[in-house]
Structures are given as C-alpha cells and as structure tokens.
C-alpha cells in the first residue's frame, strides 16, 4: 500500500505540480525540458536494468542504440525543416543528392517504424552472434564496448552522411509543430513522462512474470537454466532486443527536446555512464534504474553550473564509492535506512 503512495507522489509531482508551476511562472520551460530529457535517459536506464540488473549481461553499447533512435528522428525533422532542399550540412559536404538511406525518413510513420526496427534488428544480429558463441561476462562487456567505439568512429566520419562530428542539428518542427514553442516543449515533456510510466509498467510486468524469473535465474546460474531445459540464448536475445528498443525509444524522445544529436552521445564513455546510472540507483530494481538516471543527471546539471571543473571528480568518486560500498545503490541505501527489508524481487 505504502509503495503505491510513492508512485502516486512521483506522478503527481512531475505530471501536475511541475507543469502547473510552469504555467504559474515559477518554473522555467528550460527546467521542464531538462527533466523531459532526464525521463528519456530513465527509459534507456530501464532497458539497462533489464539486461544488466536482472540478467547480469553487461552491455556497453546501449548509448549506441539510444543514438540510433535519436538520429532517426533527427533525420526526419531535418528533412522536414529543409523542405525540398538538401539539409545544410550536406551542402557544405558537397553532397549532390539525398543519400538513399535518408529517403525513407521523409515520412513520419516510416521514421517511427525504422527507429524501432533498426535498433532491434541490430541488437538481434549482434546478440545472436555473441550469445551463440556463449560470449558472456567480461568478454561480452569488452566486445560491446569495442562495438560502441567502432560505431562512434563511423558516425564521426563525414562520408557516413550523418553530419560527422557536428551531428544533426537545426531542426525546427516535428509533425508541423514548432519545437521552439513552449507548449510543444511541455507536450514533449509530458509525452516523455507518459512513455516512462508505460515503459516502467511494461518492465514491471516483464520482471514479475516467469520470464523475468528466468532472467534472474540466468544471472544467478546460467548452466542450471540450460540443464532445466530453457534455451538461455533465446532469453538473452529477447532481453537484449528489448533493452535496445527501450534505449531507442528514449533516444527518439531525446532529440526533439535537445535540438541536437552528435556522436558525442554515443562514445564509449556515454555507455559506461548509462550503466553507472543504474548502478548508482540500484541495479536489479526498476525503481533504482529510474532514480539513478534522474539523480545523476540532475546532479550533473547542478554541478556543471556551480563548479564546472569538478564534475568528473564527483562522477569518478561516485563510481568508485558506489561499487565499493553501496552495491545495492541509492534505492538499496534508502531501503536500509527505512529498515523495511522487503525481498528484492
């Protein structure tokens, strides 16, 4: 019962109080938009919690899937903004005609589909290759990290046709709505919140089903799961695809709210940081993933404005201290403090 009150408080605060505060003029639209972006990160963090917290697979390329979603939607917005002309960066790069893979992104519906299908498909292929040869643990982490590095380098190139180092920016409208408009920003914020709630609910259902129990069983003793006649690879593959999908959804909502997406969002560091959100929040708990993503990013905003040079120190120390002393993360710490020892699962 008490648990439900926390959920209600969370939703009431972000869905009612914050927007109301904005309409009253107390909260700036930038703050609202900032939280909207945090929600996108939280959606991706849910995916990481599923794959790492529940299944024990450390995937270090989630930021790449996040960016696939972002780039997809950004390509669509850029095409709509530039109308019949080529996007500006292509003109600078002396691209004569629209590259073929840009063409489908002219339609919004197709963009939505592609933004979900491409990351899932890639995750499926990558996961299939890796899980088939029983690559796990450290090997999995390192190979996915190398993958993130390679993809990042690929996106940095101008020839890739995705804006190179500068990424994609200067998009003005989505579905004909001006992105600079306050109400559109508010709408995107609410949309992100809604999708976060939906994603949370879906993940809750997944983790509380027998499927979720198999995932935890895989984390605890993979060989026992095999000998109990579950095809471990199918389960791993499924959760890897779901995690990629969640990351891509987060990414899709992220690009319209920031107005820019660059390869910097998908470098090796970005993926590790995403994993750390979950670790800091408390892995193996969905609450932890959401709390971690929101808190770390909130902290980042505060720290970079108050003491700009110290953020990396703070983040570094947080990494170390969390891993060494609070391996249950923030949520675990809270549970301990309130002395309510409930089973984690």
């Amino acid at each position: 019962m008490e648990k439900k009150i926390y959920y209600l408080l969370f939703i009431a605060f972000f869905a009612l109080l914050l927007p109301a505060g904005h309409l009253m003029g107390w909260v700036s639209i930038n703050t609202i938009s900032l939280w909207g972006r945090y929600f996108c990160f939280a959606i991706a963090a849910l995916g990481i919690d599923l794959i790492w917290g529940y299944t024990g697979i450390l995937s270090m390329c989630q930021a790449f899937f996040f960016c696939l979603g972002s780039y997809g939607i950004a390509m669509h917005m850029l095409l709509k903004t530039s109308g019949s002309a080529l996007p500006e960066f292509m003109v600078w790069n002396k691209v004569e005609s629209l590259p073929f893979f840009w063409v489908p992104f002219q339609s919004f519906g197709l963009t939505l589909v592609l933004c979900l299908v491409i990351p899932s498909l890639l995750a499926f292929v990558i996961g299939y290759v890796l899980f088939r040869s029983r690559i796990k643990g450290v090997y999995m982490a390192i190979i996915t990290q190398a993958l993130a590095l390679a993809m990042w380098l690929l996106f940095l190139r101008n020839e890739t046709g995705l804006g190179g180092t500068n990424g994609l920016t200067d998009f003005k409208t989505l579905l004909g709505l001006p992105l600079s408009n306050t109400y559109v920003k508010l709408g995107l914020y609410l949309m992100s919140l809604l999708l976060l709630c939906v994603a949370y609910f879906a993940c809750y259902q997944i983790t509380h089903s027998k499927f979720g129990k198999v995932l935890q069983a895989i984390r605890d003793s993979e060989s026992r799961v095999s000998f109990t006649a579950y095809k471990v690879m199918d389960y791993k593959l499924a959760v890897f695809v779901v995690a990629a999908l969640l990351a891509a959804i987060g990414g899709m909502l992220y690009a319209p709210q920031t107005g820019i997406i660059t390869p910097g969002r998908m470098d090796v560091k970005a993926s590790v940081e995403m994993v750390m959100w979950v670790a800091l929040g408390g892995r193996g708990k969905l609450k932890g993933a959401v709390a971690g993503a929101l808190l770390v990013n909130f902290l980042y905003s505060i720290c970079t404005s108050l003491f700009p040079d110290s953020w990396l120190y703070i983040l570094g120390f947080l990494f170390v201290i969390t891993v060494l002393f609070f391996d249950k993360g923030f949520v675990g710490l809270m549970d301990n403090l309130t002395k309510r020892k409930e089973p984690c699962y």
Partner: protein, 251 residues
C-alpha cells in the same frame, strides 16, 4: 536400453580424462558409479548431459544419438542433472526455483504469459514435501544450508520429470540422517526413472545399490557388478585409495 555408450574418450591438455569402451543402463535402473578422485566420473556425466564435448564416442539415449546436441535439447529429451556443487538459483525463492524447473513449455512467450495451474502448484508442494522444504518455500534459495540446497537441486531435477537422472554426490555435506533420507528418496525415484548416482560414501552406496555398481579408475572401466562383488574385488580394493581402504574393509 535407456542409455548406451560406446568408445567414449576425452582428454584435457594431454591427460586422458575418460576412455570408456562400453556402458549401458536399463530403464528404471539405479546405477552407482564409484571410483577414486580423477577417475572421470563427473566428466562422464558432463558428457552425457552435453556439458563437455568428447573427442570421440557415441551416446544413445532411448536409441537416439545425442552426441553434439546442446544441453537444452538433451534436457528436453529427458535427462536431468544434479551437480557436485549444488547448483540452484540463489537469488530466487525456493518456490520459484521449483516452479522454473517444472516440466512445461519453456519458450519465451509461454514464460511471459505463464499462469501456474492448481495442478502444478499441488505438484510443487508435493515435491517440496518429499524433499523436506515445505517450510522454507518462500525464502531465498541462497540462504539455505548446504544440505537443503542439495535437496532443492534434487527437487529441481525431479520436477523436470526426466527419464534419466544424473546425480553427482548427493550426500556430500549431509548428516547421517539426511543421507539416509536422500537414499530412500532416490530408491523411490528409481521406480519410475533411470538413475545414475556418483558417490564416495560407501554406507550410502550400500543403501542404494540394489543392482549393479560400476567402478571407474583413471578414466577406464575397472569392474562392474553387485555391491558385494565389488566390495570383495581385490582390484577395486587395490586401486581405491591405495591398498588400505578402511571404508571398504569395515563394511
């Protein structure tokens, strides 16, 4: 013939771990395998359940060649394995451990939309009763004692309802009373299942070895026969822990 094995050989880094010319098991037979450390007993079970790939050899389960199949396919055919080190899901409750093991459709979609039937619940409680874990059904498996984990793992294997159970040192870490109960459980199971048990505890072997006992030594079959034959076989006494095998002589 439930299981038959021909010319099985595997070596690790130049050491011949197993070289077995023939082995067979009848349905509903309970076979005990004994042998000194490094005789290849666990490796033998590892090969049958698909965990280790042999260098050469054939394994037939119900006249079906199972070499080269994955652990999952072998498990689905009806071979259950209990390991030397208890292998349960320490993060899940005892109930969930048993639930996951129970025989049912195990693909992703069925798992996602799974609702336990009354029949299944009853079956789980029945097995829990048998392995004496009814009182701890809702505790986390990782918190159980060593002996309880052994039983839980046996319970997991039983719930899979396999035709062949491969049981590796079930009595290790158990008190005498627990060991005896385990033996009775195995004997009861052998009414419906083929069972291969690896064991060192000779008292326990005597309790459960109603039929034949197989002795392995350095990867090779040394002798096969009834418990009494084995106990009096000089070769076994010689090989087993050297010449002074107190355990065998005391019996």
């Amino acid at each position: 013939m439930l299981l038959s094995v021909n010319n099985l050989a595997v070596s690790f880094g130049g050491v011949q771990a197993l070289s077995l010319s023939h082995f067979s098991l009848q349905p509903q037979e309970l076979r005990v395998i004994i042998g000194p450390n490094g005789a290849g007993k666990s490796t033998f079970l590892d090969i049958i359940c698909g965990r280790t790939k042999p260098d050469t050899g054939e394994v037939y389960f119900n006249d079906r060649a199972i070499m080269g199949m994955t652990e999952v396919s072998i498990a689905r055919l009806g071979i259950g394995r209990k390991f030397q080190q208890p292998s349960v899901f320490p993060g899940l409750t005892v109930y969930d451990n048993l639930l996951l093991a129970a025989k049912m459709k195990k693909d992703i979609l069925s798992s996602l939309f799974f609702k336990p039937s009354q029949l299944l619940k009853a079956r789980i409680h029945e097995v829990a009763e048998k392995i004496g874990l009814t009182k701890v059904l809702s505790s986390i498996a990782g918190a159980l004692s060593h002996g309880q984990k052994q039983w839980l793992e046996i319970g997991i294997v039983v719930l899979q309802d396999p035709k062949l159970l491969l049981i590796d040192e079930p009595a290790a870490g158990m008190s005498d009373e627990e060991t005896y109960k385990t033996g009775e459980l195995l004997l009861e199971l052998s009414n419906n299942h083929g069972i291969i048990v690896i064991e060192h505890d000779m008292k326990f072997v005597q309790q459960i070895a109603r039929e034949r006992v197989t002795v392995l030594e350095r990867g090779k079959l040394l002798v096969e026969g009834s418990f009494n034959d084995i106990r009096n076989d000089q070769r076994v006494i010689d090989c087993y822990l050297g010449r002074n095998n107190t355990q065998l002589e005391n019996l």
